[in-house]
Amino acid sequence: MALPYTNLKDNSTPNPIARQDVGVKLSQPFYDVNTTSDSNLVFSSGWPSLAVAASGICDGSGKIAHNLGFPPFSLGWANTPATMVFPDMDSTYLYSNPGDYVVAYDLDITKDVDYAYTAASSVVQPYDNGYGIKMAIEGKNIDSTDLRDFIVHSRAQSPLVLAVKTEISADAANVAIAGSPTIQYTNKVGYQTWVFGYVYLNASSRYAFAPMYSQAYPRLFTDGIKSYLTYFDNKASLVILRDPMFAPTTRSVTY
C-alpha cells in the first residue's frame, strides 16, 4: 500500500514503560527467573496484557453499557455468521449492531502509553502441567479444566499492548503536511502488529472506529508497521497491540 503521506512525523514517545521489578513472574524449567529473558517466562505480571472488563450482547438499539468511566478498546463478533465487528464507544457504552456480542478490554484509548518491546519465544514450547500459577473466578473450581473459569492461568496468555497514541502526543507539524491534525505511529518490533484507529465525533460524543477500507471519513491508513489517522474533532487514538509471548504454529493451505 502506498501511503499518501510519506513525511508525517510520528507521535512523541516518552520513555517506554519497562518491565517492572515488582510483581509475579514464573520462568520455564531450568531458566533462572531472576535473569532470564521474557521469552523464557511462563508468566509475568509485567507483561502489558489485555483484560476483559465487560462483555455482552448489544440490545435492540445497538448498544450495551460497560460503565468503565473511560472509552475502552473494544472488539466484537456478529451473530451467524460470527465474523469480527468493530464497535464505537464512549465512557459508558459500546455501540454496534443489535445482537452483536462485544467485549470491552481494560485499556483506555484516551491515555497515551508506550511499552518496551521484549521478543517472544520463537520456538513452540511444550506445555508442562506440573507447575504454574492460576486463579479461579469467584464461584469457579480451582481444579476446573475449563480455562474460561480462570482470571489468570499460566497456560494462557493474551495479546499485549504495545502503544496507545492520541492527539496529546501528536506532532504539531503534521497539520501543515496533512492539512489536518494527524497522529502517526511507526512500530519498531519488526513485524506487522494489530492496529486499530478511532476518531472522536462531536456530533455523537463518541469514538468511532476508523476502518481501513473506506471512501468516507474516518479512515485509518496502515500497513501494520506505519499507521496514521487524520481527525477533525480534536481527538483521536491509535491502539497498537502485539503478539503474545509464545510462538505460533503454521498451517499451509493451497486452494
Binding site: 500500500m1 517492572q20 521489578d21 515488582v22 509475579v24 505480571s45 509485567g46 496484557s49 489485555l50 483484560a51 476483559v52 472488563a53 462483555s55 455482552g56 450482547i57 472488539l75 463478533w77 455468521p81 460470527a82 465474523t83 469480527m84 465487528v85 456480542y101 467485549v103 478490554y105 481494560d106 506445555y127 486463579m135 473466578i137 469467584e138 480455562l147 474460561r148 480462570f150 482470571i151 489468570v152 492461568h153 497456560r155 494462557a156 496468555q157 493474551s158 506487522q192 494489530w194 492496529v195 486499530f196 481501513m212 477500507y213 496502515t222 500497513d223 501494520g224 503478539d243 503474545p244 509464545f246 505460533p248 504454529t249 503454521t250 498451517r251 499451509s252 493451505v253 493451497t254 486452494y255
Partner: protein, 159 residues
C-alpha cells in the same frame, strides 16, 4: 470485585488504595486468554491460490467459497481475531493489510473479491466472497498469497 485476588502496586504506591495507573498488575478482570498448549490458539495460516475461486453464476449476486476450515477444539463459538497480509502482482485495488476481512481484488464498485474469517461451534472457517455485476470486471485470484494470523481465544462469544 470480590475481596480476593492479588494486586501489585508500583514502588512507593499504596497497594490498598491504588489510584488509576499505580498498579503493576491487578486480578480485577480476567485476562483475554489464548491457550498456549494448543496448536490453533495462535496460528499463521498461509494461503496460496493455485486456482481462482468462482465468480457468481448470476450477475449481481455474491458467490461464497470455503477456502479452509479447521477445528478449534472447543464446543462453543470462541472469540477470535484475524489479521491478514496480501502478496499479489495485481495492479487493481487490494488491501495489503487488514483485520477481520479484506479486499483481495477490486476494479470498481461493481466487483470485488473479499476474504474473511468466521467461527462456528466446531471450526474456524476462511471464506472468499466474490461479487460481480453487469458493469464489473472479474477478479482473478490465481497466484495470490494471503497470510492470516489467527488468534482463537478460550472465551466464547456469548451465543
Amino acid at each position: 470485585m470480590a475481596d480476593y485476588g492479588f494486586l501489585t502496586s508500583l514502588p512507593g504506591k499504596d497497594v490498598l488504595h491504588p489510584a488509576i495507573g499505580d498498579l503493576v498488575v491487578s486480578t480485577k478482570y480476567p485476562l483475554a486468554k489464548l491457550d498456549s498448549s494448543t496448536s490453533v490458539s495462535f496460528q499463521n495460516v498461509n494461503i496460496f491460490f493455485a486456482h481462482d475461486p468462482p465468480e457468481p453464476a448470476m450477475l449481481g449476486n455474491i458467490q461464497t467459497t470455503l477456502i479452509d476450515s479447521f477445528p478449534h477444539g472447543y464446543k462453543y463459538k470462541p472469540r477470535f481475531w484475524a489479521l491478514g497480509t496480501l502478496s499479489t502482482a495485481a495492479f487493481n485495488y487490494h488491501q495489503d493489510y487488514f483485520i477481520g476481512s479484506g479486499i483481495l481484488s477490486a476494479h470498481t464498485t461493481s466487483d470485488y473479491a473479499q476474504i474473511y474469517v468466521n467461527v462456528d461451534s466446531t471450526n474456524v472457517n476462511i471464506y472468499v466472497d466474490k461479487f460481480l455485476d453487469t458493469f464489473g470486471t472479474a477478479n482473478d485470484l490465481t497466484a495470490t498469497s494471503v497470510k492470516l494470523r489467527v488468534y482463537v481465544f478460550v472465551e466464547d462469544v456469548g451465543y
